[in-house]
């Protein structure tokens, strides 16, 4: 297996009359972390939702390990190993922390993320396992959301703004865990508002502007000023027409 683990080709997607993505392509290698950056409304969440199967693309192709999964129904996507940690966490509020984690675990692939392994990674979840998810703090909820996704033993983990609304110390703790998660053989596609954090945590970065990829490259080699210009769609890099940097 030499091709990418996840391959997104020329994807168009959106909501009813509103098209949010225009010909987006990206690749994710096994055990690789790619950061997806861009301003609000750039299409980052739409892209993750489409890869996770919640939205059906109007054009393009999504392949996992070479197999086309574009038309696969949403519930099948998680079982194939593509799992989303949604923006705003979206836990099942009336279920306990542990029940949340057990939801995908009933129909999962075999893998390293047993309940014990998850509690070892997230001791704060273990301490709150019998509490209702809706009553947990923001940081605890985020930990449960990541644990719930890992419980499916995913091959591709889609993280949508895990740091949103959390204290910096807790955000540091989450980013400190990413190498551990990656080392278990999981590829991560990461959406993050904080560019510096996104670049530090990833091997490659892709910048979206108004639904199009305007820049991509090795995270440590990207010119930060050019990236910020691409992020905001500054005149130096107008969408579609500007200098598209590809590494």
């Amino acid at each position: 297996m030499t091709g990418p683990l996840l391959e997104v080709r020329e994807l168009d997607a959106g909501y009813q009359d509103f098209q949010a993505l225009f010909g987006v392509s990206l690749e994710l290698a096994a055990s690789e972390t790619v950061a997806l950056v861009g301003a609000n409304g750039a299409g980052k969440t739409t892209l993750l939702m489409t890869i996770a199967g919640a939205l059906r693309p109007s054009r393009g192709r999504i392949a996992l390990d070479g197999a086309d999964i574009t038309g696969q129904p949403d519930y099948q996507r998680a079982r194939s190993g593509v799992v989303l940690v949604p923006e705003g966490r979206r836990l099942f509020p009336s279920l306990t922390a542990e029940e949340n984690i057990l939801v995908p675990a009933t129909r999962r692939e075999a893998g390293p993320w047993t309940l014990d392994a998850l509690y070892e990674l997230f001791p704060m979840v273990a301490a709150r396992r019998t509490h209702r998810a809706g009553l947990l703090s923001g940081g605890e909820q985020q930990a449960v959301a990541i644990a719930r996704a890992l419980a499916a033993n995913p091959r591709v983990l889609l993280l949508d703004e895990v740091s949103l609304g959390l204290a910096p110390a807790i955000v540091d703790a989450f980013y400190g865990m990413l190498p551990t998660i990656q080392a278990s053989g999981v590829s991560i596609l990461l959406v993050e508002q904080d560019i510096d954090r996104a670049l530090a945590a990833s091997a490659r970065a892709v910048c979206l502007l108004e639904g199009r990829v305007v820049m991509s490259g090795q995270s440590d080699a990207l010119d930060r000023d050019a990236l910020i210009a691409a992020y905001f769609g500054a005149p130096a890099a107008p969408p579609g027409a500007g200098p598209v940097v590809t590494a």
């Binding site: 996770a52 199967g53 919640a54 949403d74 519930y75 099948q76 996507r77 998680a78 079982r79 799992v83 989303l84 949604p86 979206r90 099942f92 509020p93 009336s94 279920l95 029940e99 949340n100 057990l102 939801v103 995908p104 009933t106 129909r107 999962r108 719930r148 499916a152």
Partner: protein
Amino acid sequence: MTWLNDVLQGIFLGGAYALTAVGLSLMFGVMRLVNLAHGDLAVCGTYLATTVMAMFGVPLWIAMLIMVPLAFLLGAVLQLSLFDRALASGPTAPLLVTFGLSVIIENLLQQIYSANTRGVPAGNLDVAAVHLGALVLPWLAMLKLVLAVMVIGGLSALLQRTGWGRRVRATADDLAIARLQGIRVRPLFASVTGLAIAAAALAGTLNAVTTGVYPTLGALTLIFAFESVIIGGLGSLWGTLLGGMLLGVTQVVVSQVSVPYATLASQLLFLVVLVVRPQGLLGSAQAAG
């Protein structure tokens, strides 16, 4: 002591209401689907049981053993064929679709069985009772109350303690995310509706032992079931039992003073609960919002 007996009869009546209503409560709690054909489906179960009795010459309890699984299947098939599509078509579609189904069922039953009231022969089960001083404990009413507690307790245990229940509750919390976590919603909803209709058919048949059955009985059945669910609190199965009992006690106690006012009193109780505690007695404020 007669007032105590009245309250007791009211509680028994409440057990019957709750057994009828629990499926309505379950379907609303899980899918936010108000099934206006619930009472008619209960009546379908009753006709099915009487048909099985007539065809095979078996007693009621054997007919019910055959009928209840068929009612489960009927519910599952309706969910897969009609209700899923209705749920996907906006908030008013389920009301229109189940109302239409209600009209269709009532007319079909009239075509097949005529508009006459049919008895459901059950030996002397409808009159047999234990007398404890001034208290009367009718066997059929006790059976219905025990079944109501068993069905609600069983459903609660399934929902709280099994993987199936966990998936049902997760789906009720957040349908889109449940799908993304690998839950296949169609068979899950089919099983929920199957259980709901099976319980309704069981209740409808036992109720008809006393009252008999006729094609338009479902509309009346629906009103009391619906009020039990609302009074007890949307989404709470034990609340439905409590709601049914309050409704039953109100009805029986008031009927001792004036029979015509008994139904009015239960409607007033319903109205008062809606005004004072719109989320119902055991419902959460969130469910009402």
